[in-house]
């Protein structure tokens, strides 16, 4: 890793330069919120965004994705290629970069997913620093910092960015497209001050002491029934989650019935059909059990396999849940007891 400083006004140069070689994607305003979208004009890039409605996972694992086309007559697969054009994803906060690293464990681990891999290999990542909102709790999982998994990371120092360059590709792009200067001792000191201020700005840190153990100990706790009564089973939490990776696979025939396509679509463990198997058996009939297993998977199941929890504290689910169910509330109920909420 090496470091440079870049005048903030130079961002437009960088975006324009990158656009000559890549599709550039970044946060843009949508009403009062933000989405990651293709940047047509550098002025649309809003690096001061709070968070986006959907996380960047949509660029690696789209909500609906064609896996292959097939012919009915001879049952042949006619097209199953994964293709992705080169692009730069601009403006990822540390939580979102960390989330991609957690997704990699699933899609690039023991069973490599060719679709995800094609998108991942074709995409460069430029991170940007942020300030915590009231729904943020990334500091509870140490995902408020990111040390790898990006090509370039920009830390906002007011009038300039402290630029961390992680990859050779990142260094080359920076060199080709934008004017930067070497860092001074003063820049580093200011970078440290910004990081300290960022850490101080969080709301009270979520207590996650002994969480996996408590999940086992409180398997029959009434808190799950209370949450089940409130949950709408709408699945909004799973859709906006940067680390939810479950999908359903569907085969649809074309209108002429001669061929068809197999696609995968995002699914949610909060739907009763999610656990339905052949013969109509459903393993998680009750809403309470579905809410419970969401937490067991994220805070225990994944942890037991990859030594990390499957949550980065981005707060998107907290915002999306009309029933006001949040990981902060659930974890607090488990750690402190439900009466403490």
């Amino acid at each position: 890793m090496f470091f440079r400083v870049m005048d903030k006004a130079r961002i437009a140069d960088l975006v324009r330069g990158l656009s000559t070689e890549y599709e550039v994607i970044g946060p843009v305003a949508k009403g009062e919120r933000f989405t990651f979208s293709v940047i047509e004009d550098p002025a649309d890039l809003r690096l001061d965004f709070d968070t986006t409605i959907l996380p960047p996972k949509k660029f690696f694992f789209p909500p609906e994705e064609r896996m292959m086309r097939f012919r009915v007559a001879d049952n042949e697969v006619v097209d199953d290629e994964a293709f992705a054009s080169p692009r730069v994803l601009f403006g990822l906060h540390p939580c979102d970069i960390n989330a991609l690293l957690l997704m990699d464990n699933v899609f690039l681990g023991e069973f490599e997913d060719p679709y995800y891999k094609a998108y991942r290999d074709a995409t460069l990542l430029v991170g940007v620093s942020c300030s915590p909102r009231e729904t943020c709790f990334c500091n509870a999982w140490d995902t408020d910092e990111v040390h790898w998994g990006f090509d370039i990371f920009l830390t906002d120092l007011g009038d300039r960015y402290f630029v961390s360059v992680r990859s050779v590709m990142g260094a080359e792009l920076l060199d080709r497209h934008v004017e930067t200067s070497p860092i001074t001792a003063e820049d580093t000191a200011e970078f440290q001050a910004v990081v300290r201020e960022f850490k101080r700005a969080f709301p009270a840190k979520l207590d996650t002491s002994q969480l996996p153990l408590l999940l086992d100990a409180k398997f029959d706790d009434p808190v799950w029934d209370e949450l089940g009564e409130r949950c709408l089973s709408c699945g909004a939490c799973s859709m906006v989650c940067p680390t939810c990776y479950c999908f359903d696979v569907r085969d649809d025939l074309d209108p002429d019935q001669r061929s068809g396509e197999r696609k995968r679509v995002w699914d949610s463990c909060q739907f009763s059909e999610f656990s339905a198997v052949a013969h109509g058996q459903t393993f998680r009939e009750s809403r309470a059990s579905r809410v419970k297993y969401r937490y067991y998977h994220k805070q225990w199941g994944y942890l037991s396999k990859f030594e990390r929890v499957l949550c980065v504290g981005c707060g998107r689910c907290t915002h999306a849940c009309l029933a006001d169910i949040s990981p902060r509330e659930v974890v607090t109920a488990l750690v402190e007891g439900s009466e403490a909420r």
């Binding site: 949508k30 009564e229 859709m239 649809d252 995002w266 739907f271 809403r287």
Partner: protein
């Protein structure tokens, strides 16, 4: 032999049948696969005595409808109910709340009840006969209709999504109406429409019926806590869901 298909309309505005004519891109593909022996909207003939697949639109509002549906069920190998009227009772079912005779009077004036003889309280097709496939919505979604028709022609099982709309709406990155304090029925409405209305700036009106997974109790409670009283939620639900269980508090 190509499967013989009939399209039957009961009480409705025939909007779903009009939607079928709007499948221009694929209509010829579909027509090449079937023997369309009767289409109420588009043909002047009579319903034949034998057919394999019956597509039924509209609500049941007369004793004659009930009889006709029983015959359809006996005759057809597969019945596809299409549209809100056939599946939840839809807009016609609003009349089932309250005195029917009064309502006939509103429309036909004095003596209206006599004019409307043979009428019964409106109800969905699904309340009279078992159907094999359902394509909900007002009007039906043409892509979904084609998918369901494909499954019927192939003899595959019917599948209807069971969860509320919010998840699909999130994938479209719509700004949530509830964030702006406005009521949207997507939180309890059956998904499968791709959240078209919300994506175009209109709140969901619940035309696809109440999702099997919906938590109506929780929805009533959270809306009340956000300042939307139960009566208002019930009133909005009643447009398409008067007869749906749990929508009447």
């Amino acid at each position: 032999m190509a499967p013989r298909v009939v399209v039957i309309g009961l009480a409705s505005d025939f909007g779903c049948q009009v939607q079928m004519t709007n499948i221009e891109d694929h209509l010829l593909d579909v027509l090449g696969l079937i023997d369309l022996t009767y289409w109420q909207l588009a043909s002047s003939g009579h319903l034949p005595a034998e057919y394999d697949v019956a597509i039924v639109e509209g609500a049941v509002t007369t004793e004659a409808h009930v009889e006709a549906l029983r015959r359809v069920r006996e005759t057809a190998g597969a019945v596809i109910a299409v549209g809100a009227c056939a599946i939840t009772g839809g807009i016609p079912a609003i009349a089932s709340a309250g005195e029917l005779a009064d309502r006939y009077g509103c429309v036909y004036g004095e003596g209206g009840a006599e004019v409307a003889c043979g009428r019964i309280a409106p109800m969905p097709v699904t309340a009279v006969i078992d159907v094999d496939y359902r394509v909900p919505g007002c009007p039906l979604d043409t892509d979904e209709f084609l998918r369901v028709l494909s499954r019927a022609l192939q003899g595959l099982s019917g599948r209807i999504p069971e969860e509320p709309l919010c998840a699909a709406c999130k994938t479209r990155e719509n700004i949530c109406f509830h964030d702006r304090g406005e009521l949207c029925l997507g939180l309890v409405t059956r998904t499968g429409c791709g959240a078209k209305c919300v994506s175009l700036g209109r709140a969901c009106t619940g035309c696809r019926g109440i999702a099997a997974d919906a938590n109506l109790d929780a929805a009533y409670a959270l809306l009340a806590s956000r300042g939307i009283p139960a009566e208002e939620f019930t009133r909005r639900l009643s447009l398409y869901n008067t007869l749906e269980e749990g929508c009447d508090r």
